[in-house]
């Protein structure tokens, strides 16, 4: 059980900042569920804040579990559950990353179809993007990290657009603050997980990070930046829409961009949707990369071969999801699964790991 990643494949510790940022802002910001506003109304931003802060604990757990000695989740599974059960669990995790890639991908295609090109067929867009994905994933993990850097820059540039809704907004929409009970806030937090989904790829790419122990702060900083960003976006939605309208708006962020108008471009939302391409591609590619990586670690299948299989299945599944209600159901299901994965499975792993290492320490002492 040792680090089997070659030195020249490693990335610097601070790139984790970009990776966390990019994997997270996949699609959540764009298609953020409006029902967080049904649960906690004007206090929705508190719910998002709670969610973001609680994820710091999960990141801390991941760093504790995988940090010393360095391993990824496959090694961890083997260590806790033994060879056979551990490998089967790792294989199950492929389906999780597959699902989260599917969610990001299909939701984006749905937005493109609904907002810009109603006539374009799902398979046309899917085929185009899959070629792009295969090209990028073939480049390896360091290429994906570079892509994450671009996504972060784009994300921060697009973030400047919140000036417009805040400028047009009405401060009274935020008042009175904290007018909802704790259960309502937590329910909304639960619903807001869709925004944060994606960072758990850290479990798989962890061995690729150089000097893991010293660089914990970058992961936390990435998470914090994202939390601040999503809280700001939520607040700007709240300022811009009256509570009644917000509950009826399906894509609040895109609705906001509909009002922005420059002299040289009148419908910024179309540009905005395609800028988001740069934002969601890294998160999608890293999920797919995780699938091939786990396959390689468990079955020793070459990533190039497995990538072809994974993408072929991916294409077939995406084309199957061709109705509005299926896209919605996919989103709900993924967020549910993700929530259980992050808040039940990872803490469970952590507790088992903790018991296990305690026992080991005892044995060593004896």
């Amino acid at each position: 059980m040792h680090n089997n990643v070659k030195e020249n494949h490693l990335i610097s510790g601070f790139f984790v900042f970009f990776l966390i940022f990019a994997t997270q802002s996949g699609i959540g910001g764009l298609a953020s569920p409006n029902f967080i506003f049904t649960y906690s109304g004007q206090d929705a931003w508190i719910s998002v804040l709670i969610m973001g802060l609680s994820l710091h604990i999960i990141i801390w757990m991941i760093y504790k579990m995988l940090g010393n000695p360095v391993k990824d989740v496959i090694d961890l599974h083997k260590m806790i559950f033994g060879r056979f059960l551990g490998s089967s669990l790792s294989l199950l995790m492929i389906s999780y990353y597959f699902l989260s890639a599917l969610y990001v991908f299909r939701t984006y295609i749905d937005i493109v179809q609904e907002w810009v090109f109603p006539n374009i067929r799902t398979w046309e867009l899917a085929l185009l993007f899959i070629c792009l994905i295969s090209y990028l994933v073939c480049g390896g993990f360091r290429v994906l990290t570079g892509l994450a850097l671009f996504a972060t820059i784009t994300g921060l540039l697009l973030f400047l657009l919140v000036y417009f809704p805040i400028n047009l907004g009405n401060l009274s929409h935020l008042m009175p603050v904290w007018n909802h009970s704790i259960p309502e806030l937590l329910q909304a937090s639960k619903a807001s997980y869709g925004i944060f989904i994606g960072f758990e790829a850290l479990l798989v790419y962890f061995p690729f990070i150089r000097f893991k122990d010293k660089q914990t702060k970058w992961a936390h900083l990435g998470m914090l930046t994202n939390t601040v960003q999503f809280v700001a976006i939520t607040i700007s939605s709240l300022l811009y829409y009256s509570p009644g309208l917000l509950q009826r708006t399906l894509y609040p962020l895109l609705g906001i961009t509909k009002i922005i108008e420059f002299d040289f471009i009148e419908r910024i939302e179309f540009i905005f949707i395609f800028c988001w391409l740069i934002m969601f591609i890294p998160s999608l590619c890293i999920s797919i990369w995780c699938c091939t990586r786990i396959l390689k670690r468990v079955t020793h299948l070459q990533p190039r071969t497995s990538l072809v299989f994974v993408l072929a299945i991916f294409f077939l599944v995406v084309v199957q999801i061709n109705e509005k209600y299926k896209v919605g159901a996919l989103g709900d299901f993924t967020v549910q699964v993700g929530l259980y994965f992050v808040y039940v499975y990872i803490p469970l792993l952590f507790i088992l790991y903790w018991i296990r290492s305690k026992r080991k320490a005892k044995l060593n002492v004896a």
């Binding site: 907002w115 047009l168 009274s172 008042m175 009175p176 309208l245 509950q247 009826r248």
Partner: protein, 355 residues
């Protein structure tokens, strides 16, 4: 690697399979007129043309549903009708009196119509107004409305504001009104205020400025106003910018503080306004006049049970146990308004007006 790149390049050809839309082979709608007759919606549209010599006529259609009017519209057009550049949606008084809920739902659900589009009520026939918009294509009507919102007396409103007020609690929709003068020119004729989804009352051009002062952002609190003074002398001034604060002191006592920066243009001829006391007297009188007018207007809103200023929304933000029905039924009609305008005369011209 080369193989991959060429494969990638080929893939970029795929979007070519999507439908192309070339700008002079589509009809870009600039204004939509909507009317209702019984159960059917009637519409007429004006569009941009790239051929100056071409004679343009509005295309009219009838349909059962509001989005459905595009279907017959397309049957009458040689090019596909597209809605991405709609700047104005003109609704007839009849439709406004019947219900605008269909329009609101349509605006909410349709991603192609811009949120910057203005919604206006037309007092004359829809088809007359729409055919007038061909006077100075493109976007004559949109320009007219925008100019009045930015520099004139019309409060800022667009599709987003209308939706916001329509679906939001504790506020009612208001939209500008269009009319034709005797020469056949379109002009802005005040506002129409809705109660829920039905048009309830019309406001005059003057009242529309007062509403603008109570509703708009400080930057766009502009407009011009004239009134007759005590000794039958008229005063005309422009509001350059201003500030506003609406506070609920107790449950039923509302204080509205206004600070308005004015440029006086029309002055009474009998006095010299370069000295302090006369200017202060004028300020005092303008203040008195505005207080009265605003109070009368707010009374009118209470009598008609409409809340275009959104006092309900302000009430909601100040009270933890907000109930829209209760506010509408009991509280709103009992609200007492205290209006405190503060007038600052910045400029009064560069010559001496006194005789």
């Amino acid at each position: 690697m080369k193989k991959y790149v060429s494969l990638l390049l080929v893939c970029f050809l795929i979007p070519g399979c999507a439908k192309q839309e070339i700008i002079d082979r589509i009809k870009i709608v600039q204004s939509i007129g909507l009317d209702v007759q019984g159960d059917t919606y009637k519409s007429s549209i004006s569009y941009a043309s790239y051929d100056k010599k071409k004679r343009l006529d509005p295309i009219t259609a009838e349909a059962l549903t509001l989005p459905g009017v595009w279907l017959p519209q397309n049957t009458k057009s040689d090019d596909q009708v597209v809605l991405g550049q709609v700047r104005t949606i003109v609704i007839s008084e009849k439709l406004a009196r019947k219900s605008i809920s269909d329009l609101a739902v349509n605006l909410l659900r349709d991603p192609t119509i811009s949120n910057n589009a203005a919604i206006v009520i037309s007092k004359p026939e829809i088809s007359t107004v729409i055919s007038k918009t061909f006077r100075d294509p493109p976007f004559y009507l949109a320009g007219l409305i925008k100019q009045n919102m930015e520099k004139g007396n019309t409060p800022l409103t667009n599709a987003h504001y209308v939706l916001d007020q329509f679906y939001g609690d504790g506020q009612d929709v208001y939209v500008p009104v269009l009319n034709l003068d005797e020469n056949g020119l379109i002009f802005m004729d005040g506002l129409g205020v809705f109660k829920d989804d039905k048009l309830r009352l019309f406001l005059t051009e003057k009242e529309s400025l007062l509403l603008k002062l109570l509703k708009d952002k400080p930057k766009s609190m502009t407009g011009s106003y004239e009134f007759k003074w005590k000794n039958d002398e008229a005063v005309y001034f422009r509001v350059l910018h201003g500030r506003r604060k609406i506070l609920f002191e107790q449950n039923d006592h509302v204080t509205i503080s206004l600070k308005l920066y004015l440029q006086i243009k029309g002055l009474p001829k009998n006095k010299n306004y370069d000295n302090k006391s006369n200017l202060l007297e004028l300020e005092q009188d303008i203040k008195q006049h505005l207080t009265n007018e605003i109070e009368v207007m707010l009374k009118k809103f209470q009598m008609n049970d409409v809340d275009p200023i959104g006092f309900g929304e302000i009430f909601r933000s100040n009270h933890r146990n907000w109930n829209e029905q209760e506010f509408k039924k009991d509280t709103y009609s009992k609200l007492y308004f205290e209006v405190n305008p503060e007038i600052v005369i910045l400029y009064s011209g560069v010559g001496v007006s006194a005789q």
